[in-house]
Amino acid sequence: MKKRISFFVPLLVGLLGCGDSQPGPDQMQALASGYGLYETHCLNCHGQEGEGLANLIPPLKNSDWILQHPDSVPYIIRHGKQGPMLVNGKRYSLAMPANKILTNEELQMLCNYIRIRFGNAGK
């Protein structure tokens, strides 16, 4: 596991982009833990960069909805979402499927990943 994390460190520094501050050890750990889960459960729809898909699938990157409803994110990941939602001024209505196989720990790791990786950590 230690070896795996060290492999991810340079990748994750790159993923975080060129912000002023370098990620702390806790953030690095969260990104390393969440990367594989994001790839398996989220990437097909929400995209490599969390960009979403046109006006069908909302972005996760810099999402005002996530910033305003951080506590709803794990619920939506686990139970899916029906009906329209407004994200960054655009309306998205494609249903999101449930991910009931995720454990609580995995859910937590995914939420941390989405929060840190895609700029949804807030101020």
């Binding site: 097909n44 898909l53 046109a54 069908l56 209505s93 249903a95 499927p97």
Partner: protein, 209 residues
């Protein structure tokens, strides 16, 4: 001697500079008598006749695509796996050729029970796609699955073990003006989609023989 060798290489290079896409699928050899001489002709398999409703409720048949180049794929709206990746890549094809009247996209739903015409309309609008450049097609599911397999060499069927309940191949199938399959590209791959976008002009410039 050296010059003639160079000339030969130059000829070869010029011949290679205009690649021709292969014609995929089975073919039959037909032997005919023309002016008392035996002539061998190759008959290539073409897409069978079809009829679907599109997202606007219009009937689309093979007549609408003959003489045009089109890219076909099989998907379903609630697909949680490869479909969004395929659509993300198909959007790039649409952005490149959406205004080219001789290029079309045909996306066939393999789950018509869920994907009604109004669902397909909403999905198309969400992508920013409009007919006649991009049709989202619906017919009875067995009809679509059979066309996928027999016409486009693709897989489409129900499978309760698969996420979303269906299994299907992620190919973007390139069809020429005569209805012949000329390429199958992995619709989940950015590099293969780029190749598809680069290959379309090769067919646009082909003579309709």
């Amino acid at each position: 001697m050296k010059i003639s060798k160079l000339a030969g290489i130059a000829l070869l290079l010029s011949a290679c500079s205009e690649p021709v896409l292969p014609i995929l699928g089975p073919r039959e050899v037909e032997v005919k008598q023309v002016n008392g001489k035996e002539v061998v002709d190759t008959i290539y398999k073409t897409i069978p006749d079809f009829s679907f409703y599109n997202q606007d409720g219009d009937i689309i048949t093979k007549k609408d695509v003959m003489g045009k180049i089109y890219v076909a794929d099989f998907f379903f709206v609630t697909c949680p796996t490869i479909c969004p990746r395929m659509k993300r890549n198909l959007l790039k094809v649409y952005e490149a050729y959406g205004n080219e009247p001789n290029v079309m996209l045909l996306s066939h739903t393999i789950d018509p029970d869920h994907d009604s015409i109004s669902v397909l309309k909403e999905y198309a609008e969400g992508l920013g796609a409009k007919a006649p450049a991009w049709h989202f097609l619906r017919a009875e599911r067995e009809y679509t699955w059979k066309l996928a397999e027999e016409g486009y060499y693709a897989t489409a069927m129900a499978d309760s073990l698969e996420p979303g309940g269906f299994v299907h191949s992620g190919g973007l199938i390139l069809v020429d003006q005569l209805g012949r399959v000329r390429g199958v590209y992995d619709g989940t791959s950015e590099s293969e989609t780029k190749q598809l976008i680069n290959d379309i002009p090769l067919l646009l410039h082909e003579k309709k023989d």
